[in-house]
């Protein structure tokens, strides 16, 4: 069967966002990015898990290299590439060295945040590789073409579930308070900000405080990683989408006894790995997920 046969369109009113969902679970969406003065595009990659070496993908370096090559081959280079965490599998310095040298091959600027696999024991190795003076604890925000981007870290304070912690909550409240309600907001974080599947810890314990602060904005997009599959969700004005991994897939919520690497036939692996491109422009914008098989 052809992928086209499965395509389904869902549209929202108001800020206007239309998602196109294909059979593979990879998703295309069209969002109204009012306020974007000029064309802007970026790419999201996630969960490269450099250091992973099991049958579910014995060559995570190879699939990550293919991802980078595919992005570098895009006709129009994105304004930046954001990696939403789990750069490494076990937080080891040599794994950070590998992923950092590979990311340095990207033509576009890089935005990163840690996943829980990057801060095992402590965030020290992550910060040594990717820390910056502007974002000493990882979280930060920036503006581009009329869009306000917020980078959250919901793994440093891991206690029970993903957690932002009071210091970061105070910071994000202040950061968002300074924005106009008409400004398009894009939020990045590793673990899903809402309770996607609590039984497997796919939630941010104190994420509701951030979601409440996002309510007043016309159009909010929250992009996460962590669960190695594309799942979309809407709450009012907020559209959520998790991303595919570049390393290995995980089971859909509740379809297995536990989360963890999912073995698919070798010839199907590239089809469930991928990256996401996001187009923001005057008028409708496009978010598209691309599998490595295409």
């Amino acid at each position: 069967m052809k992928r086209k046969d499965f395509i389904e369109h869902v549209s929202w009113t108001g800020a206007g966002i239309a998602w196109t969902l294909s059979a593979s679970g990879l998703m295309t969406s069209v969002a109204d990015a009012r306020g974007a003065k000029n064309g802007l595009s970026f790419v999201q990659i996630s969960d490269s898990h450099i250091g992973f070496a099991r049958p579910e993908n014995p060559d995570v370096v190879g699939t990550f290299k293919k991802t980078i090559d595919d992005i570098n081959a895009l006709a129009v280079q994105p304004s930046f590439v954001v990696h939403t965490g789990d750069l490494t599998h076990l937080s080891k310095p040599e794994q950070f060295d590998t992923v950092k040298s590979m990311l340095a091959q990207l033509k576009a600027p890089l935005v990163v945040m840690p996943g829980e696999h990057d801060v095992i024991g402590s965030p020290d190795n992550y910060l040594a590789a990717f820390g910056s003076k502007d974002a000493p604890k990882g979280w930060h925000s920036f503006d581009m073409n009329g869009v306000h981007f917020v980078v959250l870290v919901n793994v440093f304070n891991f206690e029970i579930d993903g957690k932002l912690g009071q210091e970061q909550l105070d910071w994000v409240a202040k950061d968002l308070a300074a924005q106009k309600s008409s400004t398009p907001i894009v939020v990045f974080g590793h673990v899903p900000l809402y309770a996607l599947y609590e039984k497997w810890g796919w939630t941010t314990e104190d994420g509701t405080a951030v979601l409440a602060a996002l309510q007043r904005f016309d159009a909010v997009t929250v992009l996460n990683g962590h669960i190695h599959q594309v799942i979309q969700h809407t709450e009012g004005n907020i559209r959520f989408a998790t991303a595919a991994s570049t390393a290995y897939p995980q089971p859909a919520p509740g379809t297995a006894d536990k989360p963890g690497p999912l073995k698919v036939p070798d010839n199907q692996l590239l089809g469930v790995l991928g990256y996401r491109s996001v187009q923001l422009a005057m008028g409708p914008a496009t978010v598209a997920d691309h599998s490595l098989a295409t």
Binding site: I120, G162, G201
Partner: protein, 132 residues
């Protein structure tokens, strides 16, 4: 499996001056995203070996951060000696919904028993496990 574990502990327990290899009298296995046994009841000075039998990496991290195995990959093991009485909650940093407890009771060598009574101690000491 449980019986085997008890037997192993009984075999080790009588050693008068345990060699380092015989020290780990207790073993917690991490399997299917669970720690077992939990709660593990031990004694001050006892050593526990945590072994990851899963395909996924896990950690053994105290909720109060007083101990931390860091990453244990498949078949990885980490050993920790509990030197103070208390109830230690721990979890996996990678899968924080995985939670378990080690209960450490007072000194066996005539020292203070702290707040834990003798009854609780004798019921949890490895030498008495054979009767359970």
């Amino acid at each position: 499996m449980y019986a085997l574990l008890v037997a192993a502990i009984l075999a080790i327990a009588p050693a008068a001056s345990p060699s380092p290899a015989a020290m780990p009298g207790f073993v917690v296995h991490i399997k299917d995203f669970k720690y077992a046994p939990t709660p593990l009841k031990i004694h001050v000075g006892d050593t526990v070996r945590f072994i990851n039998d899963d395909d996924e990496p896990h950690t053994v991290t105290a909720t109060d951060k007083s101990f931390d195995s860091e990453a244990l990959d498949t078949s990885g093991a980490w050993t920790h000696t509990f030197t103070k009485a208390g109830t230690y909650s721990y979890f996996c940093e990678l899968h924080p919904y995985m939670k378990a407890t080690v209960i450490v009771t007072g000194d066996d060598a005539g020292g203070p028993r702290r707040s834990v009574g003798a009854g609780a101690w004798s019921a949890t000491h490895p030498a008495t496990w054979g009767a359970l």
